[in-house]
Amino acid sequence: MLNVDDIRKDFPILSRKVNGKPLVYFDNAATSQTPQQVIDAIVDYYSNYNANIHRGVHTISQEATDLYEQSRQKIQAHFNAKHAHEIIFTSGTTHGINLIANGFSSILKKGDDIIVSALEHHSNIVPWQMLCERTGATLKVIPMNDAGELVMSEYETLLSEHTKLVFVNHISNALGTINPIEYIIEKAHQVGAAVLIDGAQACPHLKPDVQALDVDFYVASAHKMCGPTGIGMLYGKEAWLNKLPPYQGGGEMIAEVTFEKTTYADLPHKFEAGTPNIAGGIVFGTAIDYMNTIGLDAIATYEGELLEYATAKLLDIEGLKIYGTSKHKTSVLSFNLDGIHPYDVGSILDKLGIAVRTGHHCAQPIMDYYKIPGTIRASFAFYNTKEEIDALVEGVKKAKMMLS
């Protein structure tokens, strides 16, 4: 059992006020809040270990390098990767996706297919469109149904020997749907295609086992898992990472340089050009420790209760419609009030100290499917409470009264 009162004490921001009201933070799908343990680790790094890594012979450079590499091992253990060098530090999920898209530009040719899902975030659509433009490959889309689920029978018809890459998010950011990635990966492998899973929305709620999934690439961001912004990770199977060309040139990624030829460094450094976000990399490990101390299973159970409670309470409001009604979803509620623009509701909730996201959530194709300009999205984390959900429900009722 998770003790939410104790947990809330770890998050200093949760005690601040917004517009004179206690903050109710329900924009966790955009970014999670940061516990004191992570804040302290950032301060500790800059107070005691700040040095460039992997190059210095001096003590603090060695210490910083050790901390950075220990964090990589923590991430490896968390995701159950076979090797630490299969974990590449990135600036975040988008960087990881672009790194893979760039790598595949040397593999794909005209006549090849890439399959993407209708539930993708823009960052998971645009790089592939650019890749298709460069290579002449074709982009195909797995359609969604009214519940906000991917239609697996359609997916199977899209797969063929031409399919080279499939990329799907583990969990939809706009609707919270948990996609059947085990099945998606298995089917893709049957035709010899590689699979990239965007785990940005999944990692705050569950613990993916990349070996059990047999996934080729998995990407995530620390800032959605109680870590800082500007740091993320890409997991790739060793064989794939060896096959792909480097993404950026620079320091750290080379073994030997002459003007005739450069030999690239071994994994993971081949993909980590330049001085990385060292503090970010180190405290990514602290954030993972923090989440594991609470326990991802306990988090999932508690967030499931919040979701159930909020769904029932919100549906009591006449004229409120929830988008994304899959049985398999995380604690994300996307909704609208009949005839009222989400921007207006979001503006009033803000005045009440309630932080939600409004708009198309960088997933316009989903909004086009439902023929709406956007939604109000409340996304819950393990430090949220039922009392805060009551405040949201009252706020939505007030907005409805003012705007009707």
Binding site: N19, H341, P342, D344, S347, P373
Partner: protein
């Protein structure tokens, strides 16, 4: 009335509200009241796309004054448009170019004109000024 006089009137009106709720309710009522633009002008070329809400703006010269009509799909945005139009419409292009927009801060609606709000209003204010510059160039 000059733009400044109108703006001062608006500031006076808003100073009578005790809290944000009254202020917002007033804006919502303004937003509900009027169809602000003729349907024929709600075209793709007149649209300003914000990430959140859409804004349409149309401008035409009547005698030597510039008249604006506009609309939005969100009602609070529409209320703010009504206030902006009250301040800037039916004025000489030169006066519109020179006009200050800080009165929006003074009536407690600053957050809606923040570039991060992405509701199209920041671009709308720019657009009003652009129209004024364009028509002023014609007059010269």
């Amino acid at each position: 009335m000059t733009i400044e006089d109108i703006q001062n009137d608006i500031i006076d009106e808003f100073s009578m509200f005790d809290d944000w709720e009254e202020r917002y309710q007033y804006m919502i009522d303004l937003g509900k009241e009027l169809p602000l633009i003729d349907d024929q002008y709600k075209t793709e070329s007149n649209i300003i796309k914000g990430c959140q809400s859409k804004v349409w703006v149309h401008a035409e010269m009547k005698d030597d004054k510039l008249e604006f009509t506009a609309d939005s799909d969100a009602i609070i945005t529409k209320g703010i448009i009504a206030i902006l139009i009250r301040a800037f419409s039916n004025q000489h292009p030169k006066d519109i170019i020179d006009a200050d927009t800080s009165f929006i801060d003074k009536i407690g609606l600053k957050e809606h004109l923040s570039p991060t709000r992405a509701n199209g209003l920041v671009s709308m204010v720019k657009q009003l000024k652009m129209y004024a510059i364009a028509y002023q160039t014609q007059l010269n």
